[in-house]
Amino acid sequence: MAIAKAERLMNLALCLMNTRRPLSKRELRESIEAYREAWAQGSEDAFNRMFERDKDDLRELGLVIDVDENTLDGEAGYLARPDRNRLPEIALDAEEAAALSLAAKVWQQARLSGAASGALQKLRAAGVPYTEAPAGTALEPYIPVREAAFEPLLLAARDRRPVSFDYRKAGAAVVEPRSVEPWALECWRGHWYLAGWDRDRGASRVFRLSRIAGKVRSRQGAFTAPVPEHVDVRATVARFAGEGATATATVKVRGGSAYPLRAKALAQRQVDCEWDELEIPYGRGLAADLSEYGADVVVLAPQELRAELIERLRAVAGPAVRAGVVEGEQA
């Protein structure tokens, strides 16, 4: 039976951590049984590929592997120096440790939830106290990640690698290829967004991950545009979602209805026993929001919002009107 990968990786890690001098590939091959087997049964190529992959895997796990000349045979040698791999002293009290344990559970994504528990394991191994999650707190925050594009983009942003993908803009009938230098990912209201440099447009752009169609592909080379010090994905997304409005609208609202509008109203007054008048922030997408309330809301001003709402309602009321494209939300 072939030796399991975890056993092989563990042996490689222990060899690299326990040596004072760089070990050549040949020495490692002869020390680690899994490599001896692979060497005996396969080709040199197969062994080399396995060895390279294993080193990459250990580096993903945080091991710093240095490459130096092996003094015995002059070949390249490998070692994981203790001083470069040690976790600095970290003193967390029980309360801090418990809060961190709770936070580490929020990821609903395999890679990051594995990484978060791995981090906790390292901390606990280093002496951080382990306490059961505090009783009584019934809050369960969690971070959803359902978009397939998340992981490749996470890695690309981490390693500063350009990517390309097919993207369907809001309201667009077809996808188009985009070439992007990914800067940062942000989750807002349960959806993931990517901010980055759009190479074809020569400008920064925000993309919604659920609108990426098909695979995210890595591209050769480095970033060409400077990465801004601070990337505010959230502000951009919020603007498209109608937050941060600069204008106001006046609407008539049936008494007791449309609570969400009342909750964000800047001013409200009772008109008569049936209607109230509200002044509300007017940002992107307001007409769509208002149309949901049907006959409970009537727009009084501005005129263009009123006209847009009437047009929307006519489209729904009319005999199966399904006309062309209306400008939708973007990003």
Binding site: M17, P82, L100, A104, L139, I143, A173
Partner: protein, 317 residues
């Protein structure tokens, strides 16, 4: 779900952990590592095959009688290891997000904030990548605090709640089960008024009172959150919606069974809903970007709602 990478990561920490704790109890170690005892035993079966040199014979001499774990040739290799970039990112992003939750108890928030600073310091430049991922939770402070109190005291609550689908206010008594945050924060609770399990979005709670009566929710399975918060039941009525390119977002926001591409770049979406009349608001929102195809009475309700709304404009002209 233990892949080779996660197992290797765990075993590396395990040797560090065991080094400091001769005779550690299996149950305790499994708890500290967040794994089952079976997974731990599987790790302990691999470790004696590992060492610094196969030929030299210095394999890790770690064994267990099923209750305690002993390591007979402890060596220096087992130092605490630095955090990997992904580990620092996963931990820091999560901790910062949770610390920003408006409803979190102050004491927990302060502890978390202190922990974040310590992790940042220990991770050094490895922590830099964590600035490239951000998560914002939304929650409504006062409502949150009241529900949190009701939960910890085991009491029933009264809500004046805006029901989006019905477009109006409802008053309900609810036995809270827990609070969930996915973008927005929701109360998972047993609604005494409808005798059913319901989710309530906190930003739609207009008024809340914590009642004196004790909460007495039936024993319920935790929700399976892997497919999102709303999981329609298999026997819920089916609704078919056709949207143009501008209405494709429906497929992103609504859990659906199928979404067929249409020649014009639109979609034909089949979904199930326990309360199809709630989808009337979806039809109104879609405007020219889509329509309900089936069931016919629901489609007619949507048209009627639009006609009634238009009447409001004609009357005011």
């Amino acid at each position: 779900m233990s892949n080779a990478i996660d197992q290797t990561r765990r075993m590396l920490s395990l040797v560090t952990y065991l080094r400091e704790r001769p005779g550690a109890e299996v149950a305790e170690v499994a708890r500290a590592f967040g794994i089952s005892e079976r997974e731990l035993i599987a790790d302990l079966n691999v470790l004696p095959m590992c060492g610094t040199s196969f030929r030299g014979g210095d394999l890790l001499d770690i064994d267990t009688d099923g209750e305690r774990i002993w390591w007979h040739n402890v060596d220096d290799v087992a130092q605490p290891l630095r955090l990997a970039a992904d580990e620092a990112t996963a931990l820091l992003v999560a901790a910062r997000a949770v610390a920003s939750l408006p409803g979190l108890r102050d004491r927990d928030r302060q502890a978390l904030t202190r922990a974040v600073v310590k992790i940042e310091n220990a991770a050094g430049e490895t922590a830099e990548g964590s600035a490239r991922v951000g998560v914002t939770f939304e929650a409504e402070g006062q409502v949150f605090a009241d529900i949190d109190r009701a939960l910890s005291e085991g009491r029933r609550i009264w809500l004046r709640y805006y029901s989006h689908g019905r477009g109006g206010m409802t008053e309900r008594e609810v036995d809270p089960i827990r609070l969930l945050t996915e973008g927005h924060t929701y109360l998972d609770g047993w609604c005494r008024t409808s005798e059913d399990r319901r989710l309530f979005r906190l930003d739609r709670v207009a008024e809340i009172k914590v009642l004196d009566e004790p909460a007495d929710p039936p024993r319920l399975e935790p929700r399976d959150l892997s497919q999102g918060l709303v999981n329609p039941a298999a026997d819920d009525p089916e609704v078919v919606v056709e949207v143009g390119p501008g209405g494709r977002w429906v497929a992103e926001y609504y859990t659906h069974d199928t979404a067929e591409e249409l020649p014009d770049g639109g979609l034909r979406i089949t979904l199930r809903s326990s309360d199809p009349s709630g989808l009337r608001t979806l039809a109104l929102r879609l405007g020219a970007d889509g329509r309900i195809v089936r069931p016919a009475p629901l489609a007619e309700q949507a048209r009627a709602a639009a006609r009634a709304a238009l009447a409001g404009y004609e009357a005011a002209e």
